[in-house]
Subunit: 168 residues, 2 copies
DNA sequence: TATAGGATTGACGTAAACGTAAAAGGTGCG
DNA sequence: CGCACCTTTTACGTTTACGTCAATCCTATA
């Protein structure tokens, strides 16, 4: 059935597929003795600490493109690599749109100069944003600390003074 | 008409109202010679760098309570003080809900100890959040810098090496 | 065969803080 | 008188990254 479906979709089945026995391992307790080429969504999610919803969402957004066994998603090393990049991108603050833009430029047959340049360009801008954010946060921390000092002051003086103006 | 409406709403008109002449100053070019007790939404917005929508939104959320001249909002010093607090709160990262919670505890007849304690409590938590955010940002900056270095490396080496693994 | 576990698609919900019309009313000035 | 300007309420739209059902399906195991 698996191969039939893939054949129907016109995909040449040249890669090794999981054997029926391995596919039966729903409970992902079996760590796969050799090179588990395909993993399903549950295992993938656990491995990378994301939810199923997230993986489907990324796919919906065109960031992932797992193979299919009928309707079941099968993720390969390629998908894992892409997911890693997505997670890295999100970690440094890129939007999924940005990540997609950069990924879409990938061309396995070229030098990917354009992709790298775009990535560098976006990274520089993102770095600037991060630094600005950092400044804002530092500022906020400063103001908040000041306010806290003032509030503490008021609390300690609240026995005599008829409150100043902490709120209206 | 102005006073009539206020009278209808049962509000004692003890405070000084803008004279008909002053009220005519729609174009807020007249900076008000004395103590302009009431300002309308446009002037208020300009004075504090927010939009009309924002002021109405804050009112809708129960954060502001301007008087009314019929249907026209009239803001007083009190509202200005509150708005300042709101803006400070937002600056340090409080949600409007938090701000409201704190403001709602204000009691002009008491010591406001509870309010101050709540503010201090929320502030401590917020400070922790800000510091955590800062750490995350620093982390992101680090990772991003690393990636950028790697990308630059790849760009400079792209003449010989057949690209490594910048994307999939 | 019943059951427990995955998996699928579809689609509405969430959070925050407004933005953006839309339709209409009031007003002093030229 | 009419324009330009200010104001009002109502209400849907925006953004981002998923969360949370809901209804179904498939499958291996006890």
């Amino acid at each position: 059935m698996v191969r039939d479906r893939d054949a129907i979709r016109g995909k040449p089945v040249t890669m090794k597929l999981v054997s029926p026995g391995e596919a039966a391992a729903n409970t992902n307790d079996i760590p796969s003795e050799a090179g588990e080429e395909f993993v399903r969504i549950g295992e993938m999610a656990k491995k990378y600490g994301v939810t199923l919803r997230t993986l489907r969402f990324y796919e919906d957004k065109g960031l992932l493109n797992p193979h299919r066994d009928g309707s079941t998603r099968l993720y390969t090393r390629r998908d894992k690599a892409r997911l890693k990049l997505i997670l890295l991108g999100r970690k440094v603050g890129f939007s999924l749109r940005d990540v997609k833009q950069m990924m879409d430029l990938y061309d396995p047959t070229g030098t990917n100069t354009k992709q790298l340049r775009l990535a560098l360009d976006k990274s520089e801008k993102q770095l600037a944003r991060l630094q600005k954010q950092r400044a804002l946060i530092d500022d906020a921390i400063g103001e908040l600390s000041n306010s806290m000092t003032a509030v503490r002051q008021m609390l300690s003086e609240r026995t005599a003074a008829p409150q100043a103006s902490a709120a209206g």
